[in-house]
């Protein structure tokens, strides 16, 4: 006899981890059904949107159990997605006990992200290299290095304070513009635009764009629209943040700018 309740909890948990870490909708649905079938459920059905998961499992006697998982915060952790994807493939191929799957799931959940003190210089280096990629000089790279670090610092602080994404991106854009202008006024960098672009590249919604399109292609229209709107809003938020600072600076200190 299959333990429907336990399998349901495992399936819901798996789906939630995937969705919280940036998996596409069809992949989450596929993994949920694959894991449920692999553990011996007769019929499994799931409906996934970017903000919530519905899983419904039916055993051979037509007993149905349903679970709703609300997903509130989303970030990106592709290592977790890769591991869960491998897990679901393994379950499909050979029989696994529920305990084994639970243990594997626990170890996947325990995967740590890089600590903030590593992320900060990393973002700074990323901003510097993007500034160079988009045609900045060595001095622009130097400024972008510092501005990129500051942008990441502000987003980490606000993220820890559980602000919403829209606000975080406004502040991120504003920080990028403000410090790019300051470094330019101090004579560190040669251009303003390359520095700002380099440092906002860490905020741009690359994942949301690709996932939005992939969801739309595979027929998950609801998620596709939701994610496309998300990516558009993130882009607008960054532009608004940078725009406000630039506008204020041009109106008040334009002597320093040009």
């Amino acid at each position: 006899m299959v333990d429907l309740k336990r399998i349901l909890l495992i399936a819901g948990e798996t789906g939630r981890i995937m969705l919280e870490n940036g998996a596409e909708t069809y992949r989450v649905e596929e993994v949920i059904t694959r894991i449920s079938h692999g553990l011996g459920v007769h019929h499994a059905e799931s409906f996934v949107t970017p903000t919530g998961i519905f899983v419904s499992l039916t055993d051979i006697n037509n007993n149905t159990l349903t679970l709703v998982e609300r997903v509130k915060q989303r970030s990106t952790d592709l290592e977790k997605i890769t591991r869960i994807n491998n897990l679901s493939r393994k379950i499909g191929k050979m029989a696994h006990s529920i305990d084994e799957v639970e243990a594997e799931l626990r170890s996947i959940k325990a995967i740590k992200r890089l600590p903030s003190k590593v992320i900060l210089p990393l973002s700074a280096a990323m901003a510097a290299s993007f500034a160079y990629v988009y045609g900045g000089s060595i001095y622009d790279c130097l400024a972008a290095f510092m501005v990129g670090g500051l942008v990441r610092f502000s987003t980490i602080v606000l993220g820890n304070a559980r602000m919403n994404d829209f606000f975080i991106n406004i502040v991120g854009g504003a920080t990028a513009a403000l410090f790019a202008l300051i470094f330019h006024a101090l004579g560190v960098s040669e251009s303003i635009d390359k520095v700002i672009i380099g440092s906002i590249m860490q905020l741009v919604p690359g994942l949301a764009i690709t996932n939005g399109i992939r969801d739309t292609i595979t027929g998950d229209l609801l998620s596709g629209i939701a994610r496309s709107v998300e990516s558009f809003l993130i882009a607008v938020a960054i532009a608004v943040g940078a725009g406000i600072v630039l506008k204020l600076w041009i109106d008040n200190f334009s002597v320093w700018l040009w």
Binding site: G22, A23, E24, R27, T76, D77, L78, E79, K80, I81, T82, N85, N86, R89, I111, R113, L114, I119, L122, S123, A125, M126, S129, F130, Y132, V133, Y134, D193, I196, I197, I200, M201, Q202, V204, P205, G206, L207, I209, T210, N211, G212, I213, R214, I217, S231, A235, I238, A239, V240, A242, G243, L246, K247, I250
Partner: protein
């Protein structure tokens, strides 16, 4: 061009670490970023427009990630996300915003439309590859089936 691609490699490597890709996947994902940026620079050096260059570069990025995904059994998204990162129109977004605050609405409209087109071109580029892979997989499985039955 080569040195910019190397810098794109480093930038994508940083991005890959930020989204927590590990091991050899990280290196391969960063290589994808360098390849797509090199393709973009190469195509735009033949006076192609930004949109077309991005479209073709996205196709190359998509093909790269689908092939890798099949050969080492890792979701294609892991590589696709990183490979398109240098193409994402962050600069277009910035210049649109800049024209808006400088009150050049016509230039802002042109830039804004170009930015949206680039985002669309990247998306459609990945879409084309994705559909092509599905077709190939479908035919592959059918051929396998017929051989198996005979």
């Amino acid at each position: 061009m080569v040195e910019k691609s190397i810098m794109a490699f480093i930038a994508t490597l940083g991005f890959g670490l930020l989204v927590n890709i590990r091991g050899k996947n990280l290196f391969l994902a960063a290589l994808g970023g360098a390849i797509s940026w090199f393709a973009f620079l190469l195509i735009s050096s033949y006076h192609a427009s930004v949109v077309i260059s991005c479209f073709i570069a996205a196709i190359i990025a998509g093909a790269y990630s689908e092939i890798l995904a099949r050969s080492i059994k890792v979701p294609a998204t892991v590589f696709a996300i990183c490979a398109i990162i240098p193409l994402v129109p962050g600069s277009g977004m910035y210049y649109t915003m800049f024209e808006v605050i400088s009150n050049n609405m016509e230039k802002a409209a042109v830039k804004g439309f170009e930015t949206i087109s680039v985002a669309g071109a990247i998306a459609v580029g990945l879409f084309v590859v994705s559909v092509f892979t599905q077709i190939v997989r479908y035919w592959y499985s059918r051929i396998k089936k017929t051989i198996f039955i005979k």
